[in-house]
Amino acid sequence: MSDDGASDRVAAAFADGPAFVPYLAVGDPDYESSLAYVEALAEGGADVIELGLPFSEPIAEGPTIQNAVVRALESGMTPTRFFEFVEEVDVDVPLVCMTYYNLIYQYGESEARSVSDASSAERSSANSRAAKPRDDGEERPASKGPRPFVEKAASVGISGFVVPDLPAEEAGPLREACDEFGLHLISIVAPTTDEERLDQLVEVSSGYLYVQARLGVTGASSSVSDRTGESLARLSDVDLPKAVGFGISSGEQAATIVEAGADGIIVGSALVDIVAEGHERDEPTEETAARLETKARELKQGAVDGYGRRTPAPEGTSD
């Protein structure tokens, strides 16, 4: 990873035509394969990559990504391994960390709480917690909060965060830490988000907006919601790129979404499906990686085609 300013890199990714933003769960099905898969996506034309840091209770995910999270956790993925992964992965596009708030919130605590040296602290602290006697509630860790996680993420080259269980109401501390370290906080805009909430949400957002194409959880679907165009129209005044996700699985769908005005497309489950298939078939990593790259090309090309279909001459925030 290069260590250029995160802000500029994300803006640049949306600057020339529509951005293709794929998602994979890091460590699915194992660390090494996952490196190859993320690199394949970059090879296939990804402009930004969303890297999922798996959390045990992924309440916003459909079955495809839930299963990916289980595989990744079983393979030993942790926040510490995740940061190692980000440092090691050989791609030249901005990387966004997608995870749930509790992992961000807990990160600094183990070090702060440990009594011994920092490297062995993480393992031992869990045990000492169980043994820790409690009485008057006086002992409160003061160090919990998003700052240590954000600081670490910035140091390994992460450009921003998507946190599905963190609405604008609770985003203050993370936004503050992101500002301090020059990272983006990308907010999800739902079909149910009204104008008032939209203003509140834009207030804490940067990088791009993750426009949820339909209600529900993540997952590929054969049809793209009609509400996408509606959502994009509502967002036309917002001065951030709009990337649409939830349910996109083909180049043709990507084209439709971009034609409708999206500045980018986010694709997760359709790619995770390929990883899952490869895993089930015991396919060599290179074959799965090659299929991912092919799918990435299809999606990227779809986005480009959709852009070309826009009438009249496309303009807006992506230029």
């Binding site: 959390f55 045990s56 209770e57 992924p58 309440i59 916003a60 995910e61 459909g62 839930q66 289980v70 956790l73 942790t78 926040p79 510490t80 749930y100 708030y101 509790n102 992992l103 919130y105 807990q106 990160y107 605590e109 183990s110 993480e122 393992r123 602290s125 869990a126 045990n127 917690r129 169980a130 043994a131 820790k132 409690r134 008057d136 509630g137 409160r140 860790p141 919990k144 599905p164 269980d165 963190l166 609405p167 604008a168 109401e169 609770e170 907010s187 999800i188 805009v189 739902a190 079909p191 149910t192 988000t193 009204d194 909430r197 949400l201 949820q212 209600l215 529900g216 959880v217």
Partner: protein, 445 residues
């Protein structure tokens, strides 16, 4: 809106005696506000954006109908919980236990509420609220099946379609409740992710809600989840302590020295404690499931207990910041208890706050002590308690000399649903005060 006189009536109606100060919006004196959903450092609204408008709508409805009795909502709720639910439930002196422990033991008989547990207080309240809100469908999660059963009954009573998510493992542990839900006309959907218990069922119900949020209300079964659920569920459940406080004073002429309730998510706990919180002299004990051990195996991601108040640490799960059983990274660990109703890695944020404040004392008893409590109450008082409830009696047995002269224990539910588990676990563990169960080997069916 309403007069000064009605103001205290409204707040009493919501059972908010102890929290008047944080229930006020401060501005005009006669309107009770839903507040910001924070209990000290706990609470909040950590949910996907798609749900936030629905949660805002619910907060508004809670404030209007529950806190301010708009449209006579609370009058209707109180009428229905009386006529359909059988409130008030009695407060009964436990003669043999009082003698055994040389302390006055009073039982708040929530097991006699329709459905056999305190759960109906909340379920009926929320399903009725959903109706007032114009929602067309009810969803709920359930662990032991008591909340699912109560919600299914309330939905049938109020003519609302209902779907209940239940972990596959819990479905196997609690078959009678599964049948009851189905007989009441609800769909029961097994949840197969994870270990298939309450935690997974909650996650899956949240996913359904995120998909069908526009016409569906999610009846959360405990004082957990995003604001306004912890406060709203507590208010519906606080009928327990509203009655118990009056009953014990009528009966003994004074407040009790202690109040004891089992604690999983904490809805019977908060309901039983709420109206006593302002009574500083009354000790409040929340009895958690100690399971087989209080240690957490972080490497395996397992806590063989459900004692999040006693051993957990602060984190964010299922919409709220609260105390959780988690590993050092923040991954939620698998909890355990012989009672599925207590088997949850989190706890209500208000309860976590009251523990930090020192107002509530978290204690726990292990599986064996709970089973002993189950048999003791059955044999000595003729009341077969739920295994959840049995934890409170396990605690009474071990610590009766710390409870003062008069104690009130909430009998949160009856044990009919637990007979198979009780037979199996009793035989397996060799519980000293249990009858010979060998004739039931292989279960009841």
């Amino acid at each position: 809106m309403s007069s000064e006189g009605e103001r205290s009536e409204a707040s009493d109606r919501a059972g908010s005696k102890a929290t008047r100060e944080n229930g006020r919006d401060g501005g005009d004196g006669d309107h009770v506000s839903a507040g910001d959903g924070k209990f000290g450092r706990y609470g909040g609204q950590y949910v996907p954006e798609a749900l936030m408008p629905a949660i805002g709508e619910l907060t508004d409805a809670y404030e209007r109908y529950v806190l301010n009795n708009e449209g006579g909502f609370m009058d209707e709720f109180r009428r229905r919980i009386r006529e359909f639910g059988g409130r008030p439930t009695p407060l009964q002196r436990a003669d043999r236990l009082s003698e055994r422990y040389d302390t006055e033991v009073y039982l708040k008989r929530e097991d006699l509420l329709h459905g056999g547990a305190h759960k109906l207080n909340n379920a009926l309240g929320q399903v009725l609220l959903a109706k007032y809100m114009g929602k067309e469908r009810i969803i709920a999660e359930t662990g032991a099946g008591q909340h699912g059963t109560a919600t299914a009954m309330a939905a049938a009573h109020l003519d609302m379609p209902c779907e209940v998510y239940m972990g596959e493992r819990d479905i196997n542990r609690q078959r009678p409740n599964v049948f009851r839900m189905k007989i009441n006309g609800s769909a029961v959907t097994p949840v197969t992710t994870g270990r298939g218990t309450l935690k997974e069922a909650i996650s899956e119900t949240m996913r359904d809600w995120a998909t069908n949020v526009e016409d569906t209300h999610y009846v959360i079964g405990s004082v957990v989840g995003p604001h306004p659920f912890p406060r709203m569920v507590r208010d519906f459940q606080s009928l327990i302590s509203e009655e118990a406080r009056e009953q014990i004073v009528d009966r003994t002429g004074a407040l009790p020295d202690s109040v004891v309730a089992c604690a999983g998510g904490g809805s019977n706990t908060m309901g039983t404690f709420h109206n006593f919180i302002g009574d500083e002299a009354v000790d409040l004990f929340a009895v958690e499931a100690g399971g087989s051990s209080l240690a957490v195996d972080a490497e395996e991601g397992v806590a063989p207990n459900s004692a999040s108040l006693s051993t957990g640490s602060e984190g964010v799960l299922h919409g709220a910041r609260t105390k959780l059983l988690q590993d050092h990274d923040g991954q939620i660990v698998e909890s355990h208890s012989v009672s599925s109703g207590l088997d949850y890695a989190g706890v209500g944020p208000e309860l976590a706050h009251l523990v930090d404040e020192g107002r509530v004392t978290p204690v726990n008893v292990d599986d064996d002590a709970a089973l002993e409590g189950f048999h003791r109450l059955s044999q000595e008082e003729g009341i077969i308690p739920a295994l959840e409830t049995a934890h409170a009696f396990g605690y009474l047995h071990e610590h009766h000399d710390e409870l003062g002269d008069v104690t009130v224990i909430n009998v949160s539910g009856r044990g009919d649903k637990d007979l198979d588990t009780a037979i199996e676990e009793t035989t397996k563990r060799d519980i000293p005060n249990a009858p010979d169960m060998s004739m039931f080997e292989g279960g009841l069916r």
